[in-house]
C-alpha cells in the first residue's frame, strides 16, 4: 500500500483537541500515524510548511440536484465543488426530481455517488411524500436504503400535527429531522428580509419572525416528542436565543448556520443582485452578530453551506421571479477563517464547526484525524489570497453572492479515503 507522509503542517484535530505541529501518515485509504517526526519510509512526502492540516469538512446541507436538474448541478460536479472547498462529506438534500421520498431514489443517488462522486455522499430523504407536508414518507425503508436524516427543507411542513408525527416516527427509527423553519403564510410573497432595505427597493419582505415562530413551534414539538431536531440555516437573532434556551432545558436540538448568513446582511440586496436572494433571506447586521455569537458559544453547532446551484439564465431575471439559493461549498472556508482572524473563533473551533460538530449532529463518524480513520483530509493555506470568479468555480452553477470578492484562505489539497480529489495548482492562486 502507498504510504504518504504530510509534514510541516499545523495539525488541527478537534476530536482530540490537537492544535500542534505534527506529521501525519496515510497508508492506503486510512490514517496510519500521527506524531512528531514520524520514522519509517514513505512513498511520497507532502511538504506542508505554513499550511494547516485538518479533517475534511462535512456539509449537512447540499443540493446536488441529481436526479432531475443536472443542468444546475450533478453529483459529479457538486462533489467536485465540495472537494475544491475542502469538503470530504456532503449530505444531499431530498428536493430532487423525482423527490427522494422512496428507497429507489435513495439507492439511485447512492449508486451514482459511488460511480461519479469525488467525495462521500450521504443521503437525506424527504420527511413527507412528495415534500407535500401531508403523508410521511416510508422512513424506515428509506433508513434501510441508507438515508441518514429526513427533511422537507424549503417545502416547510406547515401542519403542526404532521410535523409532530414525523418527529415521533423519526425518533422511533433513530433518525434526526432537519427543519427549514419558515412560516410560509407569514413570509407571504416575501423575497428578502423585511426592513428598510426591502422598503427602499420596493421588494416584498419577510420578517425575522417568519423564521422564529416556526423555530418556536418545532422546539415545542421536539420537546413533546423527545425527537432529535436539527434546525437548518438559522438566520435570525431571536431563533438563536430560543435555541440556546431550549438546549439549556434539555431539548434535543442542534442547529446550523450558512457561510452567507455569517458574512452578509440585508444591505446586500441593494442593486437587485439575484445572487443575494436565498431562503431564509439575509437579515440585519444585528442578526448576523447573533449568529456569529451563537456559533462561538456553541448554540449553533456547525456551519452548513445550503449549496443551492441555479443556472445563470434562471437567476438573470427580475428579482421576484428568480429562484432562491446560492452556491456555497467553495467559499465556506474563507468566511469561517475570517472569524478566526477577527478572534471570534480559535482556529481549532473554526475547524470543529466544519468537521467534528456537523458529523456529530447526524452521527456520521467523519471529521477526525484519529489513527485508523479514513484518510479524509484537507490542507489549508490560511493566508492564500484569491478572488472568487465564475470560471474558477468547480460547481456547474455560478450563483455566488461573493463573485468578485477577495478572500483569504483556501483549501489547497483534499483527500478522500487517501485519494487526492482536489489539488490547487500554484497558477490558480
Amino acid at each position: 500500500m502507498t504510504v504518504t507522509r504530510i509534514r510541516g503542517a499545523r495539525l488541527l484535530d478537534p476530536t482530540k483537541g490537537i492544535d500542534d505541529a505534527l506529521e501525519l501518515e496515510i497508508t492506503g485509504s486510512r490514517i496510519s500515524a500521527v506524531g512528531h517526526e514520524l520514522s519509517g519510509s514513505a512513498d511520497q512526502v507532502v511538504e506542508a510548511e505554513g499550511l494547516w492540516l485538518a479533517p475534511g469538512f462535512v456539509d449537512l446541507h447540499t443540493h446536488l440536484r441529481e436526479p432531475g436538474q443536472e443542468y444546475k448541478e450533478s453529483i459529479a460536479t457538486g462533489t467536485k465543488s465540495a472537494a475544491a472547498g475542502g469538503f470530504t462529506t456532503v449530505c444531499a438534500m431530498a428536493n430532487t426530481d423525482p423527490v427522494n421520498d422512496s428507497p429507489a431514489v435513495t439507492e439511485f443517488i447512492r449508486r451514482r455517488a459511488r460511480e461519479t462522486a469525488a467525495v462521500r455522499v450521504h443521503v437525506i430523504a424527504a420527511a413527507t411524500q412528495g415534500l407535500r407536508g401531508e403523508v410521511m414518507s416510508e422512513m424506515a425503508l428509506l433508513r434501510d436504503a441508507g438515508a441518514v436524516a429526513f427533511s422537507d427543507d424549503g417545502a416547510v411542513i406547515m401542519n403542526a400535527a404532521v410535523m409532530r408525527r414525523v418527529l415521533e416516527y423519526a425518533f422511533g427509527i433513530g433518525r434526526t429531522v432537519i427543519a427549514h423553519c419558515e412560516d410560509l403564510d407569514l413570509r407571504g410573497p416575501g423575497v428578502v428580509h423585511e426592513g428598510a432595505h426591502a422598503t427602499c427597493c420596493g421588494l416584498p419582505g419577510s420578517p425575522a419572525e417568519a423564521e422564529s415562530v416556526m423555530v418556536a413551534r418545532d422546539l415545542e414539538l421536539a420537546r413533546l416528542t423527545g425527537a432529535a431536531l436539527h434546525i437548518a440555516h438559522v438566520s435570525a437573532a431571536r431563533s438563536v436565543d430560543m435555541i440556546r434556551d431550549a438546549k439549556r432545558a434539555g431539548v434535543r436540538v442542534t442547529a446550523e448556520v450558512t457561510p452567507h448568513h455569517l458574512a452578509l446582511c440585508d444591505e446586500r440586496i441593494r442593486g437587485y443582485d439575484t445572487n443575494a436572494k436565498m431562503a431564509p433571506p439575509l437579515r440585519t447586521a444585528r442578526d448576523r452578530e447573533a449568529l456569529r455569537e451563537g456559533l462561538a458559544d456553541g448554540t449553533i453547532d456547525c456551519v452548513a453551506t445550503d449549496h443551492a446551484p441555479h443556472a445563470a439564465y434562471e437567476k438573470d431575471v427580475e428579482f421576484c421571479g428568480a429562484p432562491f439559493g446560492v452556491v456555497g461549498l467553495e467559499t465556506a472556508l474563507p468566511i469561517v477563517l475570517e472569524l478566526v482572524r477577527e478572534r471570534r473563533l480559535s482556529a481549532l473551533a473554526a475547524i470543529d464547526a466544519l468537521t467534528r460538530r456537523p458529523a456529530r449532529v447526524l452521527g456520521l463518524g467523519a471529521g477526525t484525524l484519529e489513527v485508523g480513520a479514513p484518510a479524509d483530509l484537507v490542507l489549508i493555506d490560511p493566508d492564500r489570497v484569491w478572488k472568487v470568479e465564475a470560471q474558477g468555480l468547480a460547481s456547474r452553477s455560478k450563483n455566488s453572492p461573493f463573485l468578485g470578492n477577495e478572500f483569504v484562505g483556501r483549501a489547497t489539497q483534499t483527500w478522500v479515503g487517501g485519494r487526492v480529489v482536489h489539488a490547487l495548482d500554484e497558477e490558480s492562486s
Binding site: 426592513g195 422598503t199 420596493g202
Partner: protein, 303 residues
C-alpha cells in the same frame, strides 16, 4: 446623469437641474406649434410591460414634442408573451440602435437589471413597488409652481405607502429638495423602516393634514388589498379619505395632488378632486414637460 432609475441616487443639484429644464419644456408645450427639433433622429423605446395609459402617453408625447421617434412596446404584443427573457428582449431592442429605453414593469428592479445589460440610458417609468422617479419630479415641479420653492414646505403623503412607488420616489426627492415629508396611512400600509428615510410617520390623517402645504393622496389598490390590509372600502374612505372638511386642517393655501388614476369616493372625494386646491390636472400637464426634460438631459446634446 446616465440613467434615471430612481430619485434615491441623484443629487439635489441633479434633481434641480431637471426641474429647471422642465420649466423650459413647459414653455414649448404652451406654444402653437408644440414641437422642437432637439432630439431629431433619436429613437426612444417605450417598453411598457404593465398596463399604463397616462405615463405611456405622457412619455410618447414628450418624445414627439422633441422630434424623437417613439416606439411603443407592450407586454401582450411583445415576444415576452413567447417566453423570451426580459434581458434578451432588451438586448435586441438595443441592437436596433435605440437611443434610450423607457421601461415600466410590475417587478421592482427591472429597470436596474436592464441598465446592467445595456449601454444606452434607461429611464424607469415605474417598477413594482420600487420607484417612479418621473412622477416624483413632476410632483416636485408642481409644488414649486404652486409655492415658488420646495424648501421648508410640509408635504403629507397619505394612503398605501407600502405599495406605492410614487411615495418612495417622492420621499427621496422631496426630502432631498428640503421639504418636510409626513406619511400617514393604516399601519398595515406603512412600510417597515420608513422612518429611516427622514420622514415623519403620523398616526391619523388629521395629524398629517395639520398645517400641511401639500396633501398628496395615494391610490389604493382596492381589488388586491381589500380584506388583506384594510377591512373594507367604506372603512378606508371614512378613516383615510380626503374630504373638503378634513382639508380645512391644512393651510388655507394648501394644494392637493394625486398621481392618478383616482378612486373617487375612496381616497379622495370628488368635491376635493375637482375643486380649486386640486392640482391633479396640472400634474398631468407638467408630467409631459418633466419627461421632455428627462429625455433631453439623458439623450440630447448635453451628453
Amino acid at each position: 446623469m446616465k440613467q434615471l432609475l430612481d430619485t434615491e441616487t441623484p443629487s439635489r443639484e441633479e434633481l434641480e437641474r431637471i426641474l429647471d429644464t422642465t420649466e423650459a419644456m413647459l414653455e414649448i408645450s404652451q406654444r402653437d406649434i408644440k414641437k422642437v427639433p432637439t432630439l431629431r433622429g433619436r429613437t426612444v423605446i417605450n417598453m411598457f410591460l404593465e398596463p399604463s395609459t397616462r405615463t405611456r402617453v405622457s412619455f410618447e408625447i414628450a418624445a414627439k414634442r422633441l422630434s424623437a421617434d417613439a416606439i411603443n412596446v407592450t407586454a401582450s404584443g411583445s415576444s415576452l408573451s413567447k417566453a423570451e427573457t426580459l434581458s434578451d428582449m432588451a438586448r435586441n431592442l438595443s441592437a436596433m440602435q435605440a437611443d434610450v429605453l423607457v421601461v415600466r414593469d410590475r417587478n421592482a428592479g427591472v429597470p436596474a437589471m436592464l441598465a446592467r445589460h445595456l449601454s444606452i440610458p434607461v429611464i424607469n417609468a415605474g417598477d413594482g413597488n420600487h420607484e417612479h422617479p418621473t412622477q416624483a419630479l413632476l410632483d416636485a415641479f408642481t409644488i414649486r409652481q404652486a409655492f415658488g420653492n420646495i424648501e421648508g414646505r410640509v408635504v403629507s403623503i397619505i394612503g398605501d405607502v407600502a405599495h406605492s412607488r410614487v411615495a418612495r420616489s417622492n420621499i427621496h426627492a422631496l426630502t432631498k429638495l428640503g421639504a418636510e415629508v409626513r406619511i400617514a396611512g393604516p399601519p398595515t400600509m406603512i412600510p417597515v423602516g420608513v422612518e429611516q428615510f427622514g420622514v415623519k410617520p403620523c398616526t391619523s390623517i388629521d395629524e398629517a393634514l395639520d398645517g400641511a402645504h401639500v396633501v398628496m393622496m395615494l391610490r389604493i389598490q382596492m381589488e388586491r388589498l381589500e380584506g388583506a390590509l384594510f377591512p373594507s372600502v367604506r372603512e378606508y374612505a371614512s378613516t383615510w379619505g380626503l374630504s373638503r372638511e378634513r382639508l380645512r386642517l391644512a393651510r388655507p393655501d394648501a394644494v392637493v395632488l394625486h398621481p392618478g388614476p383616482v378612486n373617487r369616493g375612496v381616497e379622495i372625494q370628488s368635491e376635493v378632486a375637482d375643486a380649486e386646491p386640486s392640482r391633479i390636472l396640472d400634474q398631468v400637464t407638467n408630467g409631459v414637460a418633466t419627461r421632455m426634460a428627462v429625455l433631453y438631459l439623458l439623450t440630447g446634446d448635453s451628453q
